[in-house]
Symmetry: C2
Subunit: 361 residues, 2 copies
């Protein structure tokens, strides 16, 4: 069954009369490409039996070679409204009583659509295309595995760059160069040294590494349309005072999250397993973020592993387990694995140990 | 007067009670940076007298160093609604009867906001921050000028790469390498050779150049937060049959557009000047797009030079004039200048002639 047919089955299950997607990751997943994104409204409309594109005439060419789906083109001088209404009629979506909107599309695209469907109940895509995208197939698995192993080697390149007096940005540059050397595009390189590690999304900067720093390294690259994402910890010369105890707690939280990850459990069960362990160790207030997020075409996508998510986990789902403890003014500590859920539990993509890496100081 | 004060003056003029912006170009223009964008709702709310950020706690750090604006932070476990309502109350925006929404923000951010402001009339930002961004100051002018001159040299690097048997992608690679050599990030490199030139947004590909090809080269790079954008024409060995006549018509259309560009005229006046000239020459149906677009932080931004735009042009506005004629199966032809409007008319940024470049074939 192709992905469009799978989407229609989900639409029937959920009573969704129209799925409307902008030129972005949802369309990538569905069709293997997306049209050129710019300020000109462009939508893929999937109705109960027919689908159509609202397509700026100027941008039609590249997409025309990739798909047989009907285009309702509009020219700059005419604007998109007539073409949109023709596309809605052609997909029987003009009568839809419920529409699922791509949450990532531009606000002006979404409001243009909603203004032309005044009687439709709206939702986002979490129970239609979002639910489908959570389950990865073998091809997606292979790409994610290859990328994870590149990330392992990029992490080791980062470890090799750790020296007293080197800046965070210089370490990040070594990591980026490694990604590029394997044909991957570096996507993010968080290097949080010493007290900077206590900011989970630290903006890597000019701070120079010092002996006794703990260093959070959270990096990702993109190759063949798929990303990677992993966090490991290093120290320069030796870890700071009190580090070993906190590392052991975060490691135990990762293991608790891994142990809780089984098909059929709710996502919040994993969050609770990791969080309860950290809370019981006395550090609950310092674990300031969710335990994880899905990974596929996007670095962050469903399922989100949060304290409240009732999403039922299933075989083939890919997500991170990444508890952390952030001690303001001292250091931060996070360990992140990406896993795919198998019948008997999670398979970790990375082959790099989570132990603290101690660099010569 | 700083930019926030200018925005408030526009809000008073237009009766706008709230301007709501996502982490993107509008915030860049207003504050000189934008918070980390991800799926977590993040909004800058500008009320009549006070402003505040709705801010995911995880992403607060990098932004905290850049601004004194109040943050209403929310944690993953709590979700954004309470923090949003607190931020709306703190900016007196909870009583706003009209809200201007950043048209580029994610649909889920916009609908979250609108659901919490059920009584507000909504608009986009074209008459508030959009109107302000159209007028460039001296610093913006200098960045755009520097980038335009880099683009001139990148175009010449592209010309130097034109040889029989070379692919469009190889020409694009030479252009990208030149941008990088001057510290600019290549943003787009359209190389449309022979019949491919008839697609205005051609996806540069594996076609090999042949003697007698006309080649559309439309390129841009980004440096210091500002882009460039220019289109020139080349031919390999010699131009195809009928080319010279069409080039002369497009050149005359550029000149007509330049001559029409004066402070106080409507944007559509420029479009009409270029379009009427092409129509009178018998090629109207082959000029399939608007005449131009603004350029600033974004490659495409207001003012748009379309057949219907009543936007009044003024000194300091920067936009393209780029008429084209696209002959299916034969060749395409576009000439694009970026100009800044001065009291006595447009000043062209590029210093590269618009004449056809003939490469050895």
């Amino acid at each position: 069954m192709d992905r469009l047919e799978k989407l229609r089955a989900k639409m029937r299950d959920t009573g969704t009369g129209l799925v409307a997607l902008g030129p972005g990751p949802h369309v990538d997943w569905l069709l293997g490409f997306h049209p050129h994104p710019d300020e000109r409204p462009c939508l893929l409309l999937v109705g109960p039996e027919k689908e159509a594109f609202l397509m700026p005439a100027l941008n039609a060419e590249g997409s025309r070679e990739r798909t047989d789906i009907a285009f309702h083109e509009w020219a700059d001088a005419d604007g998109p409204v007539d073409a949109l209404n023709a596309a809605l009629a052609a997909t029987d979506a003009d009568r839809a009583r419920s529409v699922a909107i791509d949450e990532t599309m531009r606000a002006d695209f979404a409001l243009l659509l909603l203004d032309n469907l005044p009687n439709a109940r709206r939702s986002f895509t979490e129970d239609t295309i979002g639910a489908l995208r959570m389950r990865k197939d073998d091809t997606e698995y292979r790409h994610l595995k290859e990328n994870a192993l590149i990330n392992d080697r990029a992490m080791q390149a980062g470890f090799a760059a750790l020296k007293p007096g080197v800046t965070e940005l210089e370490v990040a540059a070594a990591i980026r160069a490694h990604f590029a050397s394997e044909g991957a595009q570096p996507q993010f390189t968080i290097v949080g040294s010493g007290p900077n590690g206590a900011f989970p999304h630290h903006a890597t900067g000019e701070r120079k590494l010092e002996v006794g720093d703990a260093i959070v390294i959270d990096i990702g690259g993109r190759k063949d349309g798929f990303p990677s994402d992993m966090t490991r910890m290093a120290a320069l010369g030796h870890a700071p005072e009190g580090y070993a105890e906190v590392h052991a707690i975060v490691e135990a939280a990762v293991q608790a999250g891994l142990a809780a990850a089984k098909p059929g459990v709710e996502a919040r069960t994993i969050d609770a397993a990791a969080r309860d362990l950290i809370t019981e160790a006395g550090y609950g207030e310092y674990f300031v973020h969710r335990t994880g997020h899905g990974l596929g075409i996007e670095v962050h996508e469903p399922p989100y592993i949060t304290a409240t998510s009732e999403t039922l986990l299933d075989e083939g789902m890919v997500f991170s387990i990444e508890p952390g403890i952030y001690l303001p003014g001292r250091f931060g500590l996070r360990l992140e694995e990406i896993v795919i859920l198998r019948a008997d539990g999670p398979e970790i993509f990375s082959e790099l140990p989570r132990a603290l890496h101690i660099a010569d100081g």
